[in-house]
């Protein structure tokens, strides 16, 4: 490819032509762009700088707006940069700031260009190169150009000086050692009266103070002066940001700044400044009651404003206040609750967060009630937002705020029935977790599980499958608390379980197994103690938890006679009779028979287990129910032995297992865990590995529920099943008509059930909001005395896992070295004479004067020697300093020591300076950590 000819240059497309072409779109945008790119690639090789720069300009445009790669133009950009013409330079700088980054290869070549322009007499050239430096500076550029930036910091052209100040931030970040050179000049600019420069300096300090506020405490007097004097709102906002970082570190400073901030709050007309004042007060000055009161008053104005922006920010501010001053929220509770139905989803979420911030163990049930009612009526997104925040708040710290677990478990059940609910997995985890941890809640858990299982409509909702699997597991594991195991059995075997994915279906079958064993066991144990002839009578069911049992004399007891019985009263259990057992055994055979052909290993195996057990016990039960003769007695004993064995196996309680438990098991001798399994792979190479997720075991105590399936084939053995299932379904429908829809026009049901609970969605939201306000009227105020019917049940805790993870220490070397350097400058070399502790703000200016005396000769000297200033400076540093620079590691250690010392003697304390440790004679004996400017 040769370079463009003269003709090409003459008829080069300008940027304007390019844009017009793009707009006309004669050949389609992408085609046009690639055509232009081709041209540009040619033009950019031109020796004519005008052609080159136009090409570069066009490329920048395409890169900025059409995401075209321009890395190939890095070198041409440098060539254009070397042009003497300002308009070329401008284009080159623009292109470079858009496209260069740390790994651009030609970055090294730019240093001299930048240096040349930084020293230019044309202030616009200087400004361009400063602008560019602020975008692309890396460690090398920052280091090499520090002297130039240092000089420009005191340029007499304000236009240049403010840019130099702004660029310092990037230079400090990339090359912390530059702090030693530039910091004092930066501080001097704080006293500059020009608003342009001041705004830039304050901006830099507010960024610096965010990273390490403590280092900048000594500058508090200067900031204070700006805060009081400033007429510019932008500057005031930045200074407020600085104080919100400094005030928490130094109580005296906080006292000092409260007054001016409150004055600003009262007098300012600018909402942005007002908001910054509010935020500063609520985040950093929350100890000061009157200031907080004033701020909350202003927040109230925000909340009542029409402007959604102010409302949003008001809610945000309120959330910060809520941490320490709950009264502020309860004063504004109407607005907060009303905002839950705002038209703006962001405001809704913000008010939801605020509501959640107020939750405590006294009001958790009221608030949750309100929110759940709200979720029912909300759109799906916000509904799940609400449910998610209820779930996470209530489960926080091992259900810290939940006292009444019966309530919470039934709330979980209720939440999973909300039509839009997609939090099934979280609810599943919590149901199982609570079941394992909280013994007292198990009867209620089984009741909730039963209600979920028995409702055929829920099976069609794939979001609920997790919840159902938890319910199935709980009902099997804790079947002894069930009031009617027979009913559970039917629920677990109902035909619509074919809608479940195989792993969950396996859990259903396993649970059915447990329930069956429990029924048989109860029946047989009774049968033993009472005469066998009583078998046709109703045998009282053994529900271990209940105090007394009543027997009924009819056989139709199974149809949920106890649905309405409140837990805690003596419950009337459906008795388990021989008859019903036989029914159940038949039902098991009917329901599981087809599953023997299932392709899912887990389902297949469990179904086979259960059927095998039924085969084993059924003949005996049939025999004994028809006629009891002595012969069968021996066999009978055998059967009951088997049943007892199974029962014992299942009744062993599962406890929660710590996730670190495995680590505690010591490695048996001779077991090599790290042995190379490569050979194995060769042997099994041609065997398809099972899909990755089929082996997921979940958390250890969910082992029961996590079935492992070897294939994810969705098996719908409908063809075989249909006959059986229709008859089963008919039986199910007869028993639990309550849960079926009234219009039973067809016996064959389709899979698309209507949603579980059809709440009317067309309720007037505003009416609701009013109701809610009323509802929560008390709930937001902390209750005077929580009246719990019963004490909070024990929640099993595991030491290792449930502890909060210790916050990881994250060493930020760069920032550390930056703030270290700043500290060196402010505390170390800037040897402030220990002023008397009586010095106050008014005489802090005196101190500043002294400081200046210290700094002046220094800066003069370096201003003179621009080129080799760094070497000179190094010379006039103390020896100790130099040594420290040579051994950075040692330096770090010392700094750490010093930090610790500082912490020990925190407020007003003095610490021995590091210099002293090394060079005891050079520096004044002691330097105060924080100058006493505040007293």
């Amino acid at each position: 490819m040769s370079g463009p000819s003269l003709m090409d240059s003459l008829f080069q497309r300008s940027l304007e032509d390019l844009i017009k072409g793009l707009r006309q779109q004669l050949i389609g945008e992408q085609a046009f762009i690639s055509k232009s790119l081709e041209e540009i690639r040619k033009e950019i090789k031109s020796t004519d700088l005008s052609t080159k720069s136009t090409a570069l300009l066009k490329l920048s445009y395409l890169s900025n707006l059409h995401f075209q790669d321009m890395s190939f133009a890095a070198f041409p950009a440098l060539e254009v940069l070397s042009s003497p013409r300002f308009s070329h330079k401008k284009i080159a700088y623009h292109a470079i700031s858009l496209s260069f980054h740390d790994s651009t290869p030609v970055l090294l070549l730019i240093t001299n260009h930048l240096r040349k322009d930084l020293n230019s007499t044309n202030e616009f050239e200087v400004s361009l190169s400063l602008q560019c430096l602020s975008r692309i500076a890396n460690v090398d550029l920052a280091r090499d150009l520090t002297p130039e930036v240092f000089t420009l910091l005191s340029s007499n052209k304000l236009y240049v000086r403010k840019r130099a100040v702004a660029v310092v931030l990037r230079v400090f970040e990339k090359y912390p050692d530059s702090v030693r050179v530039c910091f004092k000049r930066l501080v001097e600019n704080l006293e500059n009266s020009d608003p342009q420069v001041l705004s830039a300096v304050v901006g830099v300090f507010s960024e610096l103070a965010c990273k390490d506020p403590r280092s900048y405490l000594p500058l508090a007097p200067e900031f204070y002066k700006i805060l009081v004097d400033s007429k510019n709102n932008w500057i005031s906002i930045k200074v407020l940001k600085i104080f919100s970082k400094l005030a928490p570190l130094e109580p005296r400073l906080a006292k000092r700044v409260v007054e001016p901030i409150c004055d600003l709050m009262r007098n300012t007309g600018a909402k942005s400044l007002l908001f910054e004042c509010i935020r500063t007060v609520v985040t950093s000055l929350s100890e000061n009651e009157s200031a907080v009161r004033l701020a909350v008053g202003k927040v109230r104005e925000f909340l009542e404003d029409e402007d959604p922006n102010l409302k949003y920010l008001g809610l945000q501010a309120l959330r910060i206040v809520a941490e320490k001053h709950l009264w502020a929220v309860s004063e504004n509770k109407e607005v907060v609750i009303k905002s839950l139905s705002d038209a703006d989803p962001n405001i809704k979420i913000e008010s939801l967060r605020l509501v959640m911030a107020m939750v405590s163990e006294h009001n958790v049930s009221e608030i949750s009630r309100v929110l759940v009612n709200y979720a029912i009526k909300s759109d799906p997104v916000f509904c799940n937002e609400i449910l998610g925040s209820i779930l996470s708040t209530c489960s926080r710290n091992l259900y810290e705020i939940v006292v009444d677990f019966d309530w919470y478990v039934s709330l979980l059940g209720e939440m999973s029935r909300i039509p839009h609910c997609q939090m099934g997995d979280e609810i599943e985890n919590q149901l199982i977790d609570i079941g394992l941890r909280v013994k007292d809640v198990r009867p209620e858990l089984v009741r909730v599980a039963r209600d979920l299982l028995i409702d055929p409509a829920l099976l069609g909702n794939s979001f609920l499958h997790g919840v159902l699997s938890a319910a199935a597991w709980a009902s099997g594991e804790y079947v002894e608390f069930s009031r009617n195991p027979l009913e559970l059995m039917e629920a677990l075997l109902q035909p619509r379980t074919s809608l479940l994915p195989p792993p969950i279906r396996a859990i259903y079958i396993q649970s059915a197994f447990k329930v069956l064993v429990f029924c048989l066991h109860t029946c047989f144990m009774r049968g033993k103690s009472i005469a066998p002839s009583a078998s046709l009578d109703n045998l009282p069911a053994g529900v271990s938890a209940s105090a007394s049992y009543e027997s009924f004399d009819d056989f139709s007891v199974e149809n949920g006679a106890d649905v309405a019985v409140v837990h805690g009263q003596t419950c009337a259990s459906a008795p388990i009779t021989k008859e019903s057992i036989v029914n159940i055994l038949n039902m098991v055979e009917l329901a599981l028979g087809p599953l023997l052909g299932s392709h899912d290993v887990e389902v297949h195996e469990r179904a086979r287990n259960l059927l095998g057990f039924v085969d084993l016990t059924k003949p005996e039960i049939l025999n004994s129910s028809i006629h009891e003769n002595r012969d069968s007695e021996g066999k009978r004993v055998e059967t009951s032995k088997i049943i007892k064995l199974m029962h014992d196996a299942f009744s062993k309680e599962l406890g929660p297992v710590s996730s670190s438990a495995q680590g505690k098991v010591s490695l048996p001798d001779g077991l090599v865990l790290k042995e190379n399994l490569g050979d194995l792979e060769m042997i099994c190479g041609d065997i398809e590995p099972p899909s990755s997720n089929s082996f997921s075991f979940g958390s250890p105590y969910e082992e029961e529920k996590e079935g492992l399936s070897f294939s994810n084939l969705q098996i719908r053995d409908d063809n075989e099943q249909s006959n059986e299932s229709t008859s089963l379904l008919a039986a199910h429908r007869k028993r639990h008509g309550l849960y079926y829809l009234s219009s039973g026009k067809s016996e064959m049901i389709s899979n698309d059930y209507p949603p579980a609970s059809d709440h009317t969605l067309q309720g007037d939201i505003n009416d609701n909001a009013d109701d809610l306000v009323k509802l929560t009227a008390e709930s937001l105020i902390p209750k005077r005395k929580p009246k719990h019917g019963k004490p909070r049940p024990v929640v099993v805790k595991l030491d290792e896992v449930d502890e909060k993870p210790v916050a990881m220490k994250q060493p930020e070397s760069r920032d550390d070295s930056l703030s270290g350097a700043v500290r060196d400058v402010l505390f170390g070399s800037e040897d402030i004479p220990p002023t008397s502790s009586q010095s106050n703000l008014s005489n802090s200016s005196k101190r500043k004067g002294k400081e200046k005396q210290h700094t002046d000769p220094h800066s003069k000297e370096s201003a003179v020697g621009d080129g080799n200033s760094s070497s000179r400076r190094r010379k006039d540093r103390s020896q100790g300093k130099e040594r420290r620079r040579k051994s950075p590691r040692k330096n770090d250690e010392e700094r750490k020591d010093a930090d610790q010392k500082e912490k020990k003697k925190s407020s007003g304390g003095r610490h021995k300076s590091r210099q002293r440790a090394e060079e005891p004679l050079k520096v004044p004996a002691q330097t105060p950590v924080i100058p006493d400017f505040l007293l």
């Binding site: 300009l57 790669d69 602008q131 960024e207 942005s272 935020r279 949003y312 405001i347």
Partner: protein, 143 residues
């Protein structure tokens, strides 16, 4: 760094100006702009001007057919950024005279230059319209 990026986007979601104060690759940029535009353009006039996205806060305002979107970090004052956007629009208005989308399209470089006068290293350094525009006017005269 207060301001992370400034975007101007038209009603159709096409980017008309993009200025980033931290380096993002083209792919990251494309993804980010797509997500933000989708989020913000779906909102109506009655809703507030702040959107949380990833670890940014987006402050945006619509002027005629153009959306001005500014991504800031969490410390930044949202109302001040709204004022900044307004100042930017006023400045452009003063320079172009009733600024419109086409002005920015055809003078992208100038728009960038104005932004560079106002914002450096992610913080606002200049808020006076006269100060922002004087270098541009000088350069126009010179060329």
């Amino acid at each position: 760094m207060g301001i992370r990026f400034i975007l101007m986007v038209n009603k159709q979601g096409q980017t008309r100006l993009a200025q980033y104060y931290e380096w993002l690759t083209l792919e990251e940029r494309r993804a980010l702009e797509g997500e933000i535009v989708r989020k913000c353009l779906a909102r109506n006039e009655q809703q507030c001007s702040f959107v949380e996205h990833r670890n940014y806060k987006i402050v945006y305002r619509r002027y005629a057919s153009l959306f001005f979107l500014v991504g800031v970090d969490n410390e930044e004052n949202e109302l001040a950024i709204l004022e900044f956007i307004h100042l930017l629009v006023e400045t452009m208005d003063r320079h172009f005279g009733n600024v419109c989308e086409l002005d920015i399209m055809f003078h992208l470089e100038k728009a960038h230059f104005m932004l560079e006068e106002m914002v450096m290293n992610g913080s606002v350094v200049e808020t006076s319209k006269a100060n922002i525009l004087s270098p541009i006017q000088l350069m126009e005269k010179a060329s």
